[in-house]
């Protein structure tokens, strides 16, 4: 059964819906895969074997009765800042070890009604900020999987589950996805409810999906929002703008790869146009980072005062620094966000999507103590635009490189259609091979 773990979510659901495969088989396949690799990957905080098998058996009984659900029998991992009823939400914070969720987060409850099965909780950096999780990169255990959705990225990259939930405040869905060879999709701000999700920064936090393929993200997102257009075929040749600033700030191998992607998309029929942002990228990043610092400080201030010794170093430092920022500049940053966002919105009058590397680099060594570079993902968290990363290639050491596509705010389904087209045009990279 081991090859079943490499099925895409779309193929797996289709087989369960046709009753060629049982929901119990899908769960057992994933548990078997986790048992093979978890001792060194450390993607999962806990695997709820009994709960997942009970849910699978219930779904199999419903299938016998002729009931077919949109995501029938699809196991998924849940980042450990998102509540699953009856399981702890630890958030990488030891005092929360016994913090048992009394009900599902809205996203988890919704996925259950669609036939998906929560398989367990995946590791996060502490409170989805920057103190690293124990997870390693499935392509090279000496490398970071990225963060903050570290376990979700590694679990998808290692093919131990077909769908995982993440959250992104700066780059926490797309960066781990890119570093781990996965697809990561962040919808328009607030289009997936954050009810039942621990906050990090209220105006920046997004829920997101990690999958093996863009078509899978379209399937799940379309089911969540009851929008079948997310899986429709792209109509017409897309106009895609390549943002030069990001290429210039990339490591040479990443920049070279993105130029290759640009050429391949043009060969596939896209109209590719090189552009520069209508403002300084550093200003956009400053606005993001300042707003995030203020909001993280506000969210964690009281708890840091009470439990400082239980935290890693990053959040108390952010709280202490954020508490010193004069309010007038925070307000100016929020006005600038509006002004810059309107300029980005205007780009979509001319282009269907923006193209850039997902990260400036491939996954850095874990020994550096960092989960990587957030600067290529943070702008789109700031502006609330939908964003998706596709695993489009490798560097010369065999580490994955991601390509990022950005869509107009509110045009999530259109971005998913374009991403699926790009994925078909570019092809998927091979999963990691383990000894």
């Amino acid at each position: 059964m081991s090859e079943l773990n490499e099925l895409s979510a779309a193929e797996l659901v289709a087989r369960v819906q046709r009753r060629e495969l049982s929901a119990r088989d899908t769960v057992l396949t994933n548990i078997d895969r986790i048992d093979q690799i978890e001792s060194w990957l450390h993607a999962w905080v806990l695997v709820d074997r009994d709960g997942a098998l009970r849910a699978a058996d219930d779904l199999d009984e419903r299938a016998v009765r002729g009931e077919v659900l949109p995501l029938h029998g699809l196991p998924f991992g849940v980042k450990d800042i998102i509540d699953v009823e009856g399981l702890p939400t630890e958030a990488g914070f030891p005092p929360y070890r016994q913090r048992i969720a009394r009900r599902d987060a809205s996203i988890v409850a919704r996925l259950r009604t669609l036939g998906a099965i929560p398989l367990g909780k995946t590791h996060t950096t502490q409170f989805a900020f920057s103190d690293p999780a124990p997870t390693v990169n499935p392509y090279d255990p000496a490398r970071t999987p990225g963060g903050s959705s570290s376990g979700s990225g590694a679990a998808i990259g290692a093919r131990s589950v077909p769908l995982a939930l993440g959250t992104q405040t700066a780059g926490s869905v797309l960066r781990p996805a890119a570093y781990c060879g996965a697809v990561g999709f962040k919808p328009t701000f607030n289009w997936i409810s954050r009810d039942g999700v621990l906050p990090l920064a209220w105006s920046l936090d997004h829920l997101g999906l990690l999958t093996q393929a863009a078509a899978d993200a379209g399937l799940v997102y379309g089911a969540l929002l009851d929008d079948p257009s997310a899986t429709s075929a792209l109509s017409g040749a897309p106009r895609i703008a390549f943002i030069e600033e990001f290429g210039e700030r990339s490591e040479p191998e990443v920049a070279s790869h993105l130029h290759d992607v640009r050429s391949r998309l043009a060969d596939a029929g896209a109209e590719m146009i090189d552009i520069r942002l209508p403002f300084e990228l550093d200003l956009l990043l400053a606005v993001h980072h300042l707003i995030m610092q203020v909001e993280v400080a506000e969210v964690h201030r009281a708890q840091v005062a009470e439990l400082r010794e239980s935290y890693g170093p990053a959040i108390p430092a952010e709280v202490d620094a954020g508490a010193l920022i004069p309010a007038i500049y925070d307000q100016q940053a929020r006005r600038l966000r509006g002004a810059l966002g309107r300029q980005v919105d205007a780009l979509f009058d001319s282009y269907d999507a923006l193209l850039l590397p997902t990260a400036s680099n491939v996954a850095p060594p874990r020994a550096l103590g960092s989960t990587g570079d957030r600067t290529f993902q943070a702008p789109w968290s700031l502006l609330g635009t939908p964003a998706i990363t596709l695993p489009t290639g490798f560097d010369t050491t065999g580490l994955p490189i991601g390509t990022q596509l950005i869509g107009r705010r509110g045009a999530d389904a259109a971005l998913l259609r374009l991403a699926a087209w790009a994925e078909t045009s570019l092809g998927l990279i091979a999963p990691p091979v383990f000894a």
Binding site: L285, A286, L290, A317, A321, R334, R335, G338, L383
Partner: protein
């Protein structure tokens, strides 16, 4: 657009202001430990302070909350 006020502090001035505030609030040792982070914050503040905005225009963004589904 109107020009940014000429009196806005530079990144170095913001860094000194933040360092003084950290020393007063947290003491010299903690201020020293925060120094790298405060230097980054100072650079962001200088960029934001120098960015022009229209008087009485450009209301604060609500980060997509106004984008209806």
């Amino acid at each position: 657009m109107q020009p940014a006020p000429e009196s806005e502090p530079s990144a170095e001035e913001f860094a000194r202001m933040l360092r003084r505030a950290a020393e007063e609030r947290y003491g010299a040792d903690r201020a020293q430990a925060l120094d790298g982070r405060l230097q980054s914050t100072a650079r962001w503040l200088a960029l934001i302070a120098a960015a022009p905005l229209e008087f009485a225009a450009d209301p604060p963004d609500r980060s997509g909350l106004e984008v209806e589904r």
